[in-house]
């Protein structure tokens, strides 16, 4: 039995009518690759039929969930968003980036193991596992790690990644030996905090903070 047939049965069983709008929703649900929330489904459906209403979407999703045709899960670390998925899919859970808010679906073979372990522990048949993971996504992690030379503290070893900007200043920085991969060390700031004395290739180089900002570094 296809998902569409299951869904129609469930709606009919609860006394609902099979409208063209509902057919659109069934079709979409059977095709979406990732978990989707009510809002997302509504937006997709509205592209095909502008007459569809958000309450219809909610009602349909609730009925299908009650009939266990689809499953739901709350995602993001504070459980604020409910997403739906077609039941026959595998255990997946969500990782939410605390910086940009992007949600990524993830899965792990450990979830199955966990289900079994929990089952034998309490003698139950564990059907669903709800898990939320949070943190910095890949992009955000990279971005957060991009430090510029002016942020370097005394005693931290660092390597040059890139010189940004252009023109005379950038050229001079590169000529002075600040190229990719070279080690830099902050020695000390001038009495008024700027410029700053750095150790590069065994000699002392004084840079204004505005110039040090043009140099991206990697710690360690």
């Amino acid at each position: 039995m296809t998902f569409q047939q299951q869904a129609r049965d469930a709606i009919r069983d609860s006394g609902g009518r099979i409208t063209p709008q509902r057919e659109i929703l069934f079709d979409l649900l059977s095709h979406v690759e990732e978990d989707i929330d009510a809002d997302g489904l509504y937006r997709l459906a509205a592209q095909q039929d502008p007459n569809i209403s958000l309450p219809t979407v909610y009602r349909t999703l609730n009925t299908l969930e009650d009939a266990e045709v689809i499953a739901s899960q709350y995602v993001s670390t504070d459980h604020e968003r409910k997403v739906y998925r077609v039941n026959d899919k595998k255990d997946v859970f969500h990782f939410t980036c605390s910086r940009c808010g992007k949600v990524t679906q993830v899965t792990s073979h450990l979830v199955d193991k966990l289900r079994q372990e929990l089952g034998s522990q309490i003698g139950a048949d564990v059907l669903t596992v709800c898990m939320c993971a949070g943190g910095l996504c890949e992009d955000c992690r990279k971005e957060a790690q991009i430090m510029t030379l002016d942020q370097l503290q005394n005693g931290q070893p660092a390597k040059v990644v890139k010189i940004t900007g252009k023109g005379a200043v950038r050229r001079r920085l590169m000529d002075m030996g600040l190229v990719r991969g070279v080690q830099v060390e902050m020695v000390k700031a001038a009495p008024m905090g700027d410029p700053v004395d750095y150790l590069v290739r065994g000699y002392h180089l004084s840079l204004r903070k505005s110039e040090a900002q043009m140099i991206e570094i990697d710690l360690g």
Binding site: R172, L173, M176, Y203, H204, S206, R208
Partner: protein
Amino acid sequence: MAVSSMKIALAGNPNVGKSTLFNALTGSKQHVGNWPGKTVEKKEGQLYIAGQEVIVVDLPGTYSLTAYSIEEVISRDFIVHERPGVVVAVVDAVNLERNLYLVTQLLELQVPVVIALNMSDIAQSRGFHIDTGKLSVQLGGVPVIKTIGTRGVGVDALKTAIQQLASPTVKQAASIDYDPNLEREIQQLEATIQAIPALAGQYVPRWLAIKLLEEDEDIVARLSAYPALLTQATEAAGRIEAATDDDAETLITDGRYGFINTVISGALYRPQVAVETRSDKLDRILTHKYYGVPIFLLMMWVVFQMTANVSAPMLDWVDGIISGPITHWVTALLGLLGLESTWVSSLLLDGVIPGVGGVLVFVPVLTTLYLAIGALEDSGYMARAAFVMDRVMRAMGLHGKSFLPMLVGFGCTVPAVYATRTLENESDRKLTGFLVTFMSCGARLPVYLVIGAAFFGARSGNLIFGLYILGIAIALLTGWGLKRTVYRNKPPQPFVMELPPYRAPRLRDVWRQTWERTSEFVRKAGTIILFSTMVIWLLMAIPARGEGEFNDVAPENSVFGVVSQVAAPIFEPAGFGDWQATGSLITGFVAKEVIIGSLSQIYVGEAETVDAVDEPMPTLTEDAAFIGSSFVDAAVLTVQEVVNIVPRTLNLVPFVQIPEADFLGIAGDEADTTALEAALTQAYTPLAAVAFSVFILLYTPCMATVAAMRQEFGRQFVFYQIAYTFGIAWLAAVVVFQGGTLLGFGG
């Protein structure tokens, strides 16, 4: 054997001991001047290798050969167009990686290069071991000679290497492995350039290809006649960027430093753990968070004292000889020739001799200035001064190193103009040079003193203090304005500055530089000063109306007087629109202290010189004795002034009063100006006197300054500077007079 002498060039980073090595190579046969049309110093010397004369050109110290600084363009133009037989690359052994970067660029220019691995003794003491043979092989056969410039070690070996390299059979073959995408484009461009004979004959095709890919502004501008080539280069740069996600400039720099890493691997051993050197320890104190600024101020104060006070006794000595013995001898000589009291004697005694004196009095000042600057630069402290002060000076649109010229300006504007040489960047140098004249110099003070005493008596201190502050304020405002107008579209200049290790200054080198620069002043600026003094004399000697004849005319009837009368109405709105004031201001172009003399001459009349009439002419022996004894006095007084820096410094602290040393017990010979003061109060209102002082503060300080600026910054700069200072001086004087009148101070 070639008839024309071979030319070689000395290239290298700053602070690598290049000058010392240049001196060691050429000995005393040197010539110092400027690069044509530039404010960059050019040094040339001679050297004999196996009896053949070789001309050594000292290229400006640079880290690279880009188009972004004048020094770098000068260096590479010289190598590209003059094709020196050999380029000696002076390389700091302690700092091999960064120093070899310039060498990679020299190799790309395909000139025969020999490396002088200088300061090899310091490298050794730090535990470095450099295998010169291996280094030479890795560099594709570039000879590497260990030198210690300070002791002349390795100079003979260097000469031999130059001689061998000059023969055309020797080939150097070092090639830098660039990113394959980049290399492919370089080769294609190279082929195109090779096919254009006009370019291939003038440039090294590969070098030109690299420069085009770097989008070197200077080269792109020079090749504007080859649009197809430029388009090809732009397209190539685009392809490189698309293929590598990096711009060509980055890949080229990466390639050069990568090459250097290969070259030094196996040739350089340095200890893993960097020990804290003595220089590092010293730096912790001299650039300390709290002591750094006071130490800087103290250093600058000492330099100021040296130029303003320590040089004074010698200055007086020179002045004394010229106005004493020299004048006597010339008078006696004129008497023998029967020319006394003719226009010839007047020209010599009133025009030429004071003119020569006007040049020579600057010699002690400049000597002390150059000694002080030389010591600061050679020791490595000057870079720290810029490091410590950059924040404050930048807020005013200036450079950290601008502080010294400004401060020296309170002593004398001429050395202040020359002190701008410590600034590397030309626009910083010019901006600072433009502003130093607003620092009220020592020669303007006597004028304020007379005017202050005449009109304000005990309160004259307020006037003088106010004038000094006004000068600083105008300088800051002008700097602020220029940064937003003339310098507005200038791209930001890198401050990126090396902090070289501290070294004891080499007295011999400092002295040589002092001597060269001072004598250059006498030769170059001297002529202008002498000329202008003679022009003023001539203007005063030529009658324009009335009864007088040549050399016997009342001032008001001379050309000078007529010019003054014609110009006088300009100053009407400022309250001193009479010919006397205007005339004294014209003489003030020669030198500021002259104003007092001119005013007394005009208002009080020719003061009868007491000694000239009755006293017998001193004999030659008496004169000789005078020169000797006054020199001894001057020497003692110089020592006294050096000693007095201590009490003068301590007396800056409130409530501290330490008496200054007075070795000879000479009281200051204050000129009696009561008669002049009385006359001035009759002629002007106090408000007009203030306006007059303001004008004196702000307009062109003197012909010597003009000559110095002409030498340093060129004719056009001088024109703008004079026009601007005159305009601002007039404006300020008018504002003071008119504003004061409106506020009711006019009475």
